[in-house]
Symmetry: C2
Subunit: 113 residues, 2 copies
């Protein structure tokens, strides 16, 4: 991994644990980012349809986390029935773009297996 900003002799040379990485390292989070990225803008119910393994409460909690981290925005429309749209921020889109090669690799690998 040449070029990676990391002096190999420093015990803390690796990309250290932090909030975003912790968040990414939680169930469904990469999936959520991916689904939002693919849709551009997406409603809560749609997310549930796409990630049926995640419970309502978990999905909701992770979306809150993502919003708090500034990776997604939540737009609420006061209609009846209510409608809420989630969308990636510029920052979130940047992350999604970097995540894509990883997800493609995961997909390709599963296909091989």
């Amino acid at each position: 991994m040449e070029g990676f900003d990391c002096a190999t002799d420093d015990p803390r040379c690796y990309c250290p644990l932090n909030d975003v990485l912790d968040l990414l390292g939680r169930k469904y989070v990469m999936d959520i980012v991916c689904v939002v990225a693919v849709h551009g803008t997406v409603r809560f119910g749609t997310l549930e349809d796409h990630i049926p393994a995640a419970s309502t409460s978990t999905l909701s909690a992770r979306l809150d986390d993502l919003e708090a981290e500034g990776l997604v925005t939540r737009e609420q429309y006061d209609e009846i029935p209510p409608r809420v749209e989630y969308e990636l921020t510029d920052d979130g889109a940047d992350l999604a773009e970097r995540l894509r090669p990883v997800l493609e690799w995961v997909q390709a690998r599963e296909h091989r297996a």
Copy 2:
């Protein structure tokens, strides 16, 4: 996310949950991959030094998982004292390469904050 192999109307269009993604989405796993990638080959104790937040048992368990997924190899030398070297497989190195932009983004972002 144009170009991502995913039809947006399919409820399962996103990169689906699978074993590798689950593994990546666990505490310290991306860190472990990164540390091994940076070192090329690394001993257990060194990994512990680099990721002090992870307990011995957790580190050991994740390394087993990574080996089972074919992402790292474990080479044991019957010396006294014993020595074990972990190394990325070709597959693991491929993943690490794709992970790098993500980790750089995480690092850069933390630096901004």
